[in-house]
């Protein structure tokens, strides 16, 4: 078993499949009255969050607690680099506390890699800068598999601000490993021209959402931050929404069985219309529930055996 989950590239097909299968078992357990399992009793999981993300932190916390791990929430937000303790000093503190796993969320790409070089325990990337968010990709893949029954051969469009999206990077890597075909869609300013070469040569790129939709099994809308406008990535929210937003008319271009995903939090009316977000094709609420199962699976597989 792998020691750290820093990138979706840490997962080969067998490991990724094992995590998804395990998540399935965990999901089944979530339906019963007693949700807690004794599995990780005596293990310590630290949630080290340098960025606000209540939903991700709560998801990891629920996952760890359901497996009976001791959870320490270490919110480092607000401690600026100049004034606050350095990541390395924090790492040494966590090491001294005997953390078996550190779940890290950080605004700097690669922070989990640095952390892993300073602690003995497992490091789980809960989102680093504009790099990756591998557990999000796992829960997304789990959601696709649950809804559509398979991953191999699925055609998935990931739409929006690919350049700044850690969700997109992890999804491209993981979905490719699992045999799905990914098309990245967005304005050329937000889809790096070497993204396919960088992540997976089979990845396709399109600037035209309408032409892509009829062939897709899954369309995943990425959050687009309106401040990108100020930096001239696109002219206006209105134009963005008109060209790359998923509204009802566009949703109808999808095949009957296709699903609509969003990692949240959504900008309703920007990248996704409210009627689409709330439609039966939308898996947005399921994704949240599946997040706990996927994270339980990751924690179990990283911590459930001999270190």
């Amino acid at each position: 078993m792998i020691k750290h989950l820093r990138s979706a590239a840490d997962l080969d097909l067998a490991t990724a499949t094992l995590i998804l299968d395990t998540a399935g078992e965990m999901a089944a357990l979530a339906g019963r009255e007693v949700k807690k399992l004794p599995t990780l009793r005596g293990r310590t999981v630290v949630n080290l969050f340098y960025e606000d993300s209540t939903r991700t932190r709560i998801s990891f916390e629920a996952a760890a607690k359901r497996l009976s791990a001791d959870v320490i929430n270490f919110s480092a937000k607000g401690s600026s680099v100049s004034k606050g303790e350095s990541l390395k000093d924090t790492a040494l503190t966590l090491q001294a506390m005997g953390a078996d796993a550190v779940v890290i969320r950080h605004s700097a790409s690669g922070a989990p890699h640095r952390l892993a070089s300073w602690v003995d325990g497992s490091v789980i990337n809960a989102g680093d800068g504009t790099h990756e968010h591998p557990t999000q990709a796992l829960l997304d893949a789990y959601t696709m598999r649950s809804r559509l029954g398979r991953l191999a051969g699925l055609r998935v469009a990931i739409v929006g601000d690919v350049l700044h999206s850690r969700v997109a990077r992890s999804n491209v890597l993981l979905l490719t490993t699992l045999g799905a075909h990914v098309t990245l869609v967005g304005p050329p300013t937000l889809v790096p021209r070497d993204i396919a070469a960088a992540l997976s040569p089979a990845t396709k790129v399109s600037y035209d959402l309408d032409s892509v939709l009829p062939d897709m099994d899954v369309v995943m809308m990425l959050r687009v931050q309106t401040e990108r406008m100020q930096d001239s990535y696109f002219p206006s929210a209105r134009e963005y929404s008109r060209r790359y937003g998923l509204d009802l008319a566009r949703m109808r271009k999808l095949p009957e069985h296709a699903i609509v995903m969003h990692p949240g939090p959504m900008n309703r009316g920007m990248e996704i219309a409210p009627e689409v977000a709330d439609s039966s094709r939308s898996t947005i609420v399921e994704q949240v529930a599946n997040g706990v199962s996927a994270r339980m699976a990751v924690l179990y597989l990283l911590l459930g055996g001999k270190a």
Binding site: S109, H113, R114, G129, T130, A197, A198, L199
Partner: protein, 421 residues
């Protein structure tokens, strides 16, 4: 003053001969009073000259001082280094450049030649008192805002023109700042994969293209710092072919390392301009051989531990270079001693107008030289470096060549591979 008799040394790879140093010069024959140095197996080069060094004093003495940087330079075979102006306070007045110059003379290990800032506080708004620095005791001839680009084209034009009065030269850090906002590494496949903001090659090439046109227009000399891309090489090649008076430098690390190293997220590989692709490395090597790039300059940039043992985005850019430069160049160019002497000693001294350095070891020449053992191999251990900082990208790498001795005006600064003081 003791003389030295270096027996059986190969000057620039020629057949072994004796070299006699007395009273600061190379002389024709020993008089029997000299200390004898065994030169067998060693190659003598004119003392190396570095056009681009950060000594950090005043301001960041925890990272480097004039003295520790001078020692590192001597151990690297250098007899003269040009100290960049981005200290704190900035070397933008006669007072600061004289202070640095004096500290260099006191350390007495290499000739420390201060570079003056082009603009007040490196802020890119207003010319610093370039003339005052030129006529100060430091005799500044090279001016640079290195660390920052003189981005304002009008200001750059004025600077290029103004320094003609005292045969000065502007050394440009070519980086269009709007194209590199938040940039962390070379923009390309690796940056896309790692989610680090890209530093596009065009940000360097656009400034060099603009500046060679400006230099041509006003008839001034221009020096381009740390050229890092194949596209920059092409711009320079065309400018030189047209007769523009432009010179350029490349760092040892840009001749060897590539952006793939960032995959570790270890900021020891973070540098500005960033490590580029293998294709860029190949173009830079060829340009150095062709003479499109004139010199190797280290961009020796010491940083304290806390500025490197952190997240990539928060780390300061830069790497140590003085103590490994010759080894890197040897591994890149091979034992082409005349070419090495040209790119690391003669040409940098000529660009800077530095008398007494970069002259071949003929009778009557100043005795500034270094002795290299080309057959030696060493494994780089940061703990063994003389620099106060440890941010070498070569930790654990086996490098060819070792500096055995360095002489500054006939006095040894390094003997038996150790600094004399």
């Amino acid at each position: 003053m003791t003389g030295f008799l270096i027996q059986g040394v190969s000057v620039l790879g020629a057949a072994p001969s004796d070299l006699v140093l007395r009273d600061g010069f190379v002389v024709s024959a020993p008089d029997g009073t000299e200390d004898v140095v065994d030169g067998s197996g060693l190659v003598a080069l004119p003392g190396l000259v570095d056009l681009h060094t950060h000594l950090r004093e005043p301001g960041r003495e925890d990272a480097e001082t004039v003295e520790t940087g001078s020692r590192a330079a001597a151990l690297g075979g250098y007899t003269a280094v040009f100290a960049m102006a981005n200290t704190s306070p900035v070397a933008d007045t006669a007072g600061v450049v004289e202070q640095v110059w004096r500290l260099g003379r006191e350390a007495g290990l290499v000739d420390v030649q201060p570079i003056g800032a082009v603009t007040v506080g490196l802020a890119g708004k207003q010319l610093a008192e370039l003339g005052a620095m030129a006529t100060s005791a430091a005799g500044v001839r090279i001016f640079s805002d290195d660390g920052f680009c003189v981005a304002d084209p009008r200001l750059m034009r004025r600077a290029l023109e103004y320094v003609k009065a005292f045969d000065g030269i502007i050394a440009q850090h070519a980086e269009e700042p709007r194209l590199t906002e938040g940039a962390q590494m070379h923009e390309g496949e690796v940056s896309t994969r790692l989610g680090l903001t890209g530093w596009p090659a065009v940000a360097e090439e656009a400034i060099i293209a603009r500046d060679v046109l400006l230099a041509e227009h006003v008839g001034s000399r221009l020096h381009v710092c740390h050229v890092s891309t194949a596209g920059s090489v092409e711009v320079l090649r065309q400018a030189k072919a047209r007769g523009v008076r432009v010179t350029a430098e490349v760092t040892p690390h840009h001749l060897l390392l590539t952006d793939e190293l960032a995959a570790s997220y270890d900021p020891v590989f973070k540098v500005n301009p960033p490590l580029r692709t293998a294709a860029d490395v190949a173009a830079l090597r060829q340009a150095l051989v062709d003479g499109v790039i004139d010199v190797v300059a280290t961009d020796h940039a010491p940083h304290a531990v806390e500025d490197k043992e952190c997240e990539w985005a928060y780390a300061r850019p830069g790497m140590l270079g003085l103590e490994t430069a010759l080894s890197i160049v040897l591994s890149v160019l091979g034992e082409r001693w005349d070419l090495i002497a040209d790119r690391m000693s003669r040409t940098p001294a000529r660009i800077a107008g530095l008398d007494g350095h970069g002259t071949d070891l003929a009778v009557g020449s100043p005795a500034n030289l270094t002795l290299v053992d080309p057959s030696a191999r060493r494994v780089v251990d940061p703990a063994e470096l003389a620099s106060r900082s440890r941010n070498t990208p070569y930790t654990g790498t086996t490098l060819p060549g070792r500096i055995v001795a360095t002489f500054l005006r006939g006095e040894p600064t390094v003997l038996d591979g150790k600094a004399v003081k």
